[in-house]
Every structure is written in structure tokens, then in C-alpha cells.
Symmetry: C2
Subunit: 302 residues, 2 copies
């Protein structure tokens, strides 16, 4: 039996909110359905943020209402308690909240300082437990902040401990600007896995410096078995200068499948989802492996 | 003191021989000089193959004659003894010879079967020792052959042993078609390092499946401290269907420098070499990190 690795595709949120084009809710649903068809069962489907600040995420409740029911794990990002209430009302089962490891990033991203955002996170985690609602707590800029530079590992380890203590079932370590090397990933993730166990940790990498796939490998070597990635390598962060695309789901799945892990994802169907989002947004899909995957399909090998 | 890693840029050979455009010898020299300016001291500058079979490598002796002298390590590829004699006459100090781990690949690539090519390799290694000439013995398709599929590790370990026994100072393990995953790289390289020591081994990866950089990292973790890469990610193999670009020197150097290794290479000057070869060949440079590197230069950070 192959060991499972969970892929959480954040393209319908992290990817789409960074495109020049704003998709209609039904287009977003079509993309999510294409991912489901490929076997992706964990998807960040949108966010409950101000439609003025992030127009691309307008209509997330509509998207959620149109999603199929089944053995799927949909989540939506929330930046504040208003977002929490909207998420709860939408019928989604999981919210993700983001707390940056650096004060400046928190202030730029959600206009709260570290203490305020931690208090917000604890508030959400408490409510979520009472409401029987799942929460993914994401630590952004866990390796480097575009404003403050390298983040001390102790800062991240302590923040992780606070989030788990406040009831977070899972913490996502995010290299929001794609700045970490695999050596840095190994260093931090091996400590976090030793401290908290791999089962409660997940990683989120960007490919800015072409190390996204190598970072996934380094984290796998540390025992991590859940990753965020984005279909077609779309993504970035509007408030993080220098961030570029998330590591592409196709690249990650190709590697993990070949390494013998069970992702449950069909590469041939996955590239159809990548083609769809490229067509919808006019963005070039950036997955390096896409050409190779398509050649295999043409040859009938995939 | 940072630990050194040697980068051997094979772009002027592996890269240029796979472009639609054939460069003049003086253009090839300009590219090699741009690499030297960036601090790349090991360069495969051409090959002594039939100019009918590989027109892009016509004039390699002229290229070599025009190269500056200094603390540089230039090599040329040779497919046969005629090539050996031409290389020796050219005044270059190192030849590289390629022996595929699979019989079919040897027959397609250089029209010799395994026994013939091993005999040729031993012949060259013997002559090179007598002529006080350095040889890089490259094992092609060391993980997977496009014709025969996965290569058993024992085949590669045995071939490596034969090459070292015949006097090879260094063996390069090449994933010629970019088919290996980092798990496969770790598996084979850890065995080879245990058997022969990391000092005599080098790795050569392609980025076909977007795992080139991850494979470099996996080999570094095994102790390997020398890598082939290609400026701008140019490359491939004309006789290996499905091969695409070599792992880009920029991507590899960015990662290794950030990991604290001393490559001796200046990234800002390296992207000038990548821009030059893109301009010379009309090929798009494929290094994912190039945009990020250029942004750092614009900001005065590199």
C-alpha cells in the first residue's frame, strides 16, 4: 500500500485572486469541478474578504453553494470575524486563517499587529471548536518576510505552539514569497515535526526562486504528508512584493506519484484543469512538467 | 569557510548543439567568456563529433584556440578515437566521453553496443593516462533509458566500478532524459557515494519533469559536490526522444549559494550570460529564477 500524501489546491483562491482577469462564480465552480475530476479532494475554493479589496473573490458564497457534496474538503480563507460569520453561513466546513510570522507583514496584509492577529486567531479557533467547524491555521512568511527579512526559527516554533494550544487541528507553514531554500525547509520542518508531529503540519511553497519542487521534496523527507499547491502554478500575494506563482500542482503531483506516494490524482485529468484555468484567465500555465505530461498523453502513456 | 561546489556549465556544448541556430565559433567564445566573467571555471566548450552529424559543433578546435588561459577547466566531448586525437591536438586539457547504461541508447547515440563502447572508454582512459590528459567519464541514461526504461542500479554501480578500474578520475551520472525523481537520485547516489566516495562523482540533470533542481538538492544531500548544468536551461539530446533542457545554471547556483555553498559564481553576471545565449540563439531562457534574479539586480540587491 502506497503512503498517502494530501494535495490541497489553492489555485481557486491564491491563484485566481492574483490574476488580471476576474472570473465569474460559475467559472470558478467549473475550475473546482475540473480539479475534483482529477482527484484533488482538498481545495481552497475562495475567501470571505472585502470584495472592494479583492474583487476576484466576490461571490465566494455563490461558489460554495454550487459545489457538489461528497468526500471533499473545501476551505475558504477568512481575514476577520465578519469573514468567519460569512464562511459559517455559507455551509463550508473549513476556514483557513493566515497569521504572518512577522509584524510588518501582518500590518500590511490584514492591518493588525502580531498581538492582534494572534488574538483574532485564538478567537476563531475557539469559535470553530464550539461551532464544530474545522480551521487551517496558516503561518505566512514562515521563512522570510519581504519587509523584515529572515524569520528566526524560534519565532515560528513558538507561534506554532500557540496555535496548537489554542486548538488548531493543523498548521500550514507558508513560504509566502518563495524565498526558502530546501536547506532552510529541512532545518525548520525537521524541528517542527520533532516538536508537533508531521500529521498536524502542512507546507505551502512558491516557485519564485525555482526551488518550490525541491522544497516539497525536502519537506517530504522530514515526514510532511500534506502540501498546498496551485493548478498551473498560478498565484502570488498581492500584498507581498516579490512573490510569484505557487508551486504548480502538476509539478508536485508528478514528483510525488513517481516517488511512489498515493496522491489519488490523475495527471492527465489534472492538465485539463490547468488548461481550463489558463484559458479562463489568459495566464500562461507555468508548470514546467506540463509539456512532458502532454507528450505522455499523446503517446497514450498517461 | 563555505564548502565548495563545482558547477560545470555544459551549455556551450549540450545547450548549443540542440538549438535550431548554429553559432559561429566567435559567438561560442563570447558565450564562454561571459560564463568565465560570471565565475564559472568548469565549462564543456564543445565536442569533436562529425560536423555532418552535429553542425553546431563545427569549429570546436577554433573555439578552443581562442580561449583565454588561466585557472579554468575546459573540456570537450569525444565520441570516438578520432575525436580523441582531435581533442589532444586542440590543446584542451580534458575530454569527456559518454557511455550509456543501456545498450539501445549506446547504439542509437554512437552506434556501438555496450561492450564496444566500454572497450572504447577503456582505450581512451588508458591513452589519456599515458598522454597526461584528464577524462570525465559520463554514464548517460543512468536512471532511465527512453528505449529500455528503468535502469537497474546494479548496472550503473558495476559500470562505474569498471570505469574507475580503467583509470577514470571522475564519473558523471547523467539523467539524460530528465526522468529521475529525487527519491531515485537519493537511492542511487547514496550507494555510489558509499562505494566510491563523493569526490570522484558528479551529477548531470535535466529539467524535463520539473525535478532538476530537486534532484540537485537530493544529490547534495548525498554528498555530491560537482554538477553539470546549462546556462539558460538550454539543452536536450538529439538522439534521446523526450529529453528537454538541462537544469539551468542560474537555478542551481541560486539554490546552492543560498544554501551557503561557495560556487564562486556571481548571479548578476550569470544572467548576462543567459541573456547573451538567448539573444544568440533566439531560444527562450528557461530558468525559472531569472525573473527573480533580475528584480534583485534592479533593486541593487545583487
Amino acid at each position: 500500500m502506497a503512503e498517502k500524501i494530501i494535495i490541497n489546491d489553492v489555485g481557486p483562491r491564491d491563484g485566481l485572486q492574483n490574476q488580471a482577469v476576474t472570473l465569474e462564480p460559475q467559472q470558478r465552480v467549473a475550475l473546482i469541478r475540473a480539479l475534483l475530476t482529477a482527484g484533488v479532494k482538498h481545495i481552497e475554493v475562495g475567501s470571505f474578504v472585502s470584495p472592494t479589496a479583492v474583487p476576484a473573490m466576490r461571490g465566494t458564497a455563490e461558489v460554495i453553494a454550487a459545489l457538489p457534496r461528497g468526500d471533499f474538503h473545501f476551505s475558504a480563507l477568512i481575514p476577520n470575524l465578519k469573514g468567519y460569520d460569512l464562511a459559517k453561513a455559507s455551509g463550508i466546513d473549513t476556514v483557513s486563517l493566515v497569521i504572518a510570522a512577522s509584524n510588518t507583514m501582518n500590518e500590511k496584509n490584514i492591518r493588525m499587529n502580531n498581538a492582534q492577529v494572534l488574538s483574532f486567531a485564538k478567537d476563531v479557533l475557539g469559535r470553530a471548536q464550539a461551532d464544530n467547524f474545522r480551521t487551517l491555521a496558516c503561518i505566512a512568511t514562515a521563512w522570510e518576510c519581504p519587509f523584515e527579512g529572515l524569520i528566526p526559527e524560534k519565532t515560528v516554533i513558538d507561534l506554532c505552539a500557540e496555535l496548537f494550544a489554542a486548538g488548531a487541528p493543523e498548521v500550514v507553514l507558508a513560504d509566502t514569497i518563495g524565498a526558502a531554500s530546501p536547506a532552510q525547509v529541512k532545518s525548520l520542518m525537521s524541528k517542527l515535526v520533532a516538536e508537533f508531529g508531521a500529521q498536524r503540519l502542512s507546507c505551502h511553497f512558491h516557485d519564485t526562486r525555482a526551488m518550490g519542487v525541491a522544497n516539497v521534496y525536502a519537506a517530504v523527507e522530514c515526514g510532511v504528508r500534506k502540501f498546498d499547491s496551485s493548478i498551473g502554478g498560478l498565484g502570488g500575494c498581492p500584498f507581498a512584493p516579490g512573490a510569484s506563482g505557487n508551486v504548480a500542482t502538476e509539478d508536485v503531483v508528478l514528483m510525488l506519484n513517481q516517488m511512489g506516494f498515493d496522491t489519488g490524482i490523475d495527471l492527465a485529468k489534472l492538465v485539463l484543469a490547468a488548461d481550463l484555468v489558463a484559458e479562463q484567465t489568459g495566464a500562461h500555465a507555468t508548470a514546467n512538467s506540463a509539456k512532458w505530461i502532454k507528450r505522455q498523453i499523446e503517446k497514450g502513456l498517461l
